[in-house]
Amino acid sequence: MTTETLGVVLMEDAATGLRLSVHDGVATVCYDQPDSPVNTLNTRVGPVFEQMFTRIEQDASIVGAMLVSGKPDTWIAGADIDELRRVTTPLDGETLSRGGQLLLNRLAAMPKPLVAAIHGAALGGGLEIALACRYRIATDHPKTVLALPEVQLGLLPGAGGTQRLPRTVGLPAALDMILTGKTIRAKKAWQMGLVHELVHPSILRDVVARRVRALARGDAMPLLARKRRASEVLLEDNALGRTVVFRQARATVLKKTRGHYPAPLAAIDAIEAGYRHGEDAGLREEAKRFGELAVSDVCRELVSIFFATTALKKDSGLPDGVTAEAVRVRKIGVLGAGFMGAGIATVAVQAGTIVRLKDSSLDRVVAGWRAVREVLRERVNRRQLTRAQMDDTLSLVGGTIDYSGFANAELVIEAVFEDLAVKHAVLREVQAVAPHAIFASNTSTIPIRDIAAAAVHADQVVGMHFFSPVHKMPLLEVIVTPETSAQTTATVVAYGRQLGKTVIVVRDGPGFYVNRILAPYINESGKLLDDGASIDAIDEALVSFGFPVGPLTLLDEVGLDIAGKSGPIMAAAFGERMRPSVTLQRVIESGRLGRKAKRGFYRYSEQGKREDVDKGVYALTPASGSRIAVAAEEIQRRTVLPMLNEAVRCLEDGIVRSPRDGDIGAVFGIGFPPFRGGPFRFIDALGAAAVVKQLEELEKRYPGRYEPAAMLRAKATAGERFHP
């Protein structure tokens, strides 16, 4: 895209980066926010837009206008979230929303045609502006995507999006977009009628200029591509049908969010208000609910996560004052073609890396290759990938049963059996064939320094702890030892990011960070079983707390053998508070390995479908078969509080560098409820003193397991928060 403008510049505002020019009677409003890679919407651009629209209206030589972005591959990426953070009262939020609505109403009511020329991401407020334009032309380009992602930040589209989108694409499609925040690619946007035309980027402005003139003349325009099925018409076009749609939408949202997220429900209310009482009423409802949401706890936490992940994307992973250049990784070796090794290979080839996948037999190698192929096939089925792209990507995996081809790998990641002797053997072999390669262990239980003990080049040894399934889990925990070099750290952090992961750097120690805070949580779940609580009650209590699955379901999914390996290591390192429960030990010993063995805390059908709780487990508990009722709050206190406490100990021990990293690790690695912001933000919300008090109370009942961390006590005494 060219940013130079044909014609005469009529107005230019350096502060906002908005420029109005005119060429041959067609005005161009170009937005190029200074000092920012993307265009965002803030309260300063509103008045400038206003002036420009007035000028367009009043200037008789102008027949119409187009709205373009001055950025190369992004259009308008949404509202300025920093500005949103300054909203302190619901009224402030409502006013902000009303301001946006009025501006866009004015824009929509312009007598001269305004056409959105969309190349790049049109997100949130950006898409709302486009929806207010009379006509939308997008480029048929992978970078051109459209979405209303506000719910992901605990908000709703507050500049008329809840009203204009359903009127543009129909109720079901609008609900789908608004309630999930999903991204729509250009082709799909055209098919669903979100944009009127698709063109090649190089002719975008020409075509738009022609359309502006045609619209100004009043020519008939191509119809939107959207075709409606009979069932859609039936449900959408009458009040009764819509009632059904809204009821279903609410039920689905409640089932998914368990009432923890108010934004989708508020969005449904606003949409419904528009259908029932007209657009004005809908807009009023939208602004009111936006104001409420903007100051809600959920929104605050989700925004904090957004900012933390954004900050982590720029974080080199090195301590302050230390810099090192990351080596560009073009080829990696992966040792072990099992579930984790294949998962790592999958994300690596999708990032364009050549992968040498080694295992001990061709049968294992082909199984790993097949696992990579299955993930890619799934993407082909979802039309995210063409067949040719799949073949290309897959060709980057080269299977081997020896170390041929390892010599030029910049990075070797081992995902072999969790056994120190095996890790040592492969480390020695790798450093012999690829002496310059970084050696990263994907171990989840063995301290990296113990593995590095066998290294010739210990500065090139690091931990890369991926989570399962690798292609879905967003976190990568990078573990450094005192000997790990800055370049090694910088390289794996940069590469992890290239793989699309959110990367936190943690210090070496048993369980690192994520598994360490998980351990007391899992153990206390087991001890609740020891004491007679029932499996479903425990899982249900923690799902209702906001975890995606309960702790016992998690054990079944991950595999109890894997959990069983870490138990004794954690107990040896941390003593009583990590001692595995009797039940957990017995369940593991009984050979219940979880879903993969079709036998765990739950029963599984032959096809692997989960059935009900396996009551046979109760016979293995000290309380035997008899079960007692334990209140959900008690279950949550006994399991979540030690997790919070352990997170603070990790900060105390320097395992995590900051509360921010601790929060992100828990949310992205374990699924700690995002609306609670992470362990540290949750402590801040509860108050350190309250957490200490509850821990002390539990410590009295269960000595040695709930002793509050010293740092937590200090914060409680000083009345301080972890986050400013």
């Binding site: 073009r330 364009g352 050549i354 040498r356 061709l362 049968d363 190698v365 082909v366 290759w369 097949r370 192929r373 073949d391 290309d392 990507t393 060709s395 980057l396 080269g398 299977g399 081997t400 041929s404 081809g405 390892f406 010599a407 030029n408």
Partner: protein
Amino acid sequence: MPTFGTGRRVAIVAGVRTPFARSGTLLKDYTAIDLGKLAVAELVQRTALDGATVDLLVFGTVVPSVVAPNIAREVSLLPHFPKTLQAYTVSRACASANQAITDAADQIALGHAHVAIAGGAESLTQVPILHSRGMSDVLVAASKAKALSQRLAIFAQLRPRDFIPITPAIAEPSTGESMGQSAEKMAKLNGISRESQDRFALRSHLNAAAGTDDGRLTAEIVPVPAPPKFEAMIATDNGVRRDSTYEQLAALKPVFDRQYGTVTAGNASPLTDGGAAVLLMSDERAKALGYIPLAYIRSYAYAAVDPGEQLLQAPVLAAPIALARAGLALEDIDVIEMHEAFAAQVLSNIQGLASKTWAARAGLSAPVGDVDFEKLNVMGGSLSIGHPFGATGARVLTTLCNELARRGGQFGMLTVCAAGGMGHAMIVERA
């Protein structure tokens, strides 16, 4: 010594091939392009090569895909290389991969390239089946028709015989003689007995089986996931019959002359799918990049005879030229790889090399010499391993270089016969 005159010396750094599988069997779901990509991707991986260092990719194929005739370009678009890697496809029948290799070597010797990948691939399962001429005419005419009525009228011209498709045959366009008929004729002209053919075929299978068992052959093969379920890796050639016996071979009926013939399915190479590639570099670049070459190209030659005479006898003329260019005699050669299209052809070639008549035709005063069977095709050949036309030359060169290195020999020679009455010979030497 430089490879050609004053040109740069050309090093053979490594070679890799897919398993070779009888057509319609294990590799039937892979196209020739897929097979070429599999071999080349592994060559790049195994040699720890940076794809950006490659200047040229040349590939050979005999039955090209109608939709993607430049197989080399498709292979060079592997994500291992920059998209700027230029590539072209060559065709010299069964010596197509050899032509790719010598083209690449020429470019290196000239200084136009420093690193080149050359090879070939063939799927004799996925051959293009053509419409009859009548059908083609109708389809073309119909595509130009403007109205439906016109189109229907054109389709109405079709006759039943127009629906019979044309499959490409392995026959000489100039003489109409099939490859097998030519081999049969050579056996008769040169007096090659049925027994000697069958014994040579048996030797090929037993040598290949031994090479597979001790890993010499499998070391050259990239394991390929087995479609359609990909539950196993194909890591060996499926044409090698380790348990074949002379009696079994002798019991087979001749195919091309049922009454007096000697050429059977057992002493002819099978239709095969597979791909193979070698990595060539200028000596200086190989050293700069830290590679220890397997061997160097010392010389090569192509020759031809009248295809109506002895179609597969031209190696007899190519070998003395290559030897002369190398300044060597046959007895200097430590390892010999002769492509085995038919046992009758190999034995005719060997007889020709020792004959005064063929020496005279080559303009030599004395025969080239006797081929020592201890040095010949010691890991089997196309009769047993199989013969994907476009790929064979790269397989033969790889095996020759590896075996020469293993034996600690100095010089190796390969010969390949090709349709059209053509022949090729190449001499390689170790550092």
